[in-house]
């Protein structure tokens, strides 16, 4: 895939992560229950539509899969950072900048792995996801 398409994908993902974080923060502020499963389905669907418009026909399955993993690697850190910052600065919620979700198995796995150190888990997860995005970028570029 051409570099400009990957950069455009990154840009769209960053904007999507920020918008999603804003909406999620608002739902949390109003104490509404957020369905993470439905949210994930919605995000994957939007990512699929964006990819469909960017990739040429016929689509190659490995390229689609790696592009989705690339988008996930960018979405994760941006969404996590934006969500915490919006909750802290706009809704004045008393949480640390490194706050992680309590229901997600992924968050719990990293927290357990780092013996409950939330800051270390936050930084590790963010670094890990950015490295995933970098690994996919190198394989998607010709």
């Amino acid at each position: 895939m051409e570099s400009w398409k990957l950069l455009l994908l990154a840009l769209v993902t960053i904007v999507g992560a920020w918008l999603s974080a804003r909406m999620e923060a608002r739902e949390y502020a109003h104490n509404r229950k957020v369905s993470h499963f439905l949210l994930t389905c919605l995000r994957v669907m939007v990512a699929g539509l964006v990819l469909r418009s960017l990739l040429p026909d016929p689509v190659e399955l490995p390229v689609v899969a790696m592009s989705l993993i690339y988008m996930m690697g960018i979405f994760g850190p941006v969404h996590r950072i934006c969500l915490n910052q919006i909750r802290i600065n706009r809704y004045f919620v008393h949480i640390p900048w490194s706050h992680l979700g309590t229901e997600s198995k992924y968050d719990t796995f990293f927290r357990t792995l780092l013996r409950g150190n939330e800051k270390a888990a936050f930084v590790s997860m963010t670094t890990f996801e950015l490295l995933i995005a970098a690994a996919m970028y190198t394989q998607l570029t010709p």
Binding site: E60, P62, M66, F128, A135, Q139
Partner: protein, 56 residues
């Protein structure tokens, strides 16, 4: 390989994608070339195509 063998090979390779991604992360972090995910997914698609050829 038979239809079921090829199909099973494809499913196993798709299931092993997270391992390939983790290997690529290590490769990127250590400055080596990352190509495990691409190879793994391409092999999975090849196996799937073989399985389709077997039944047609």
């Amino acid at each position: 390989m038979s239809f079921f063998g090829s199909l099973l090979g494809s499913v196993v390779k798709v299931a092993l994608t997270p391992v390939a991604v983790a290997k690529d992360v290590v490769n990127v972090a250590t400055g080596k070339e990352a190509d495990a995910t691409k190879k793994n997914l391409e092999d999975a698609v090849d196996d799937l195509e073989d399985a389709m050829d077997d039944i047609t």
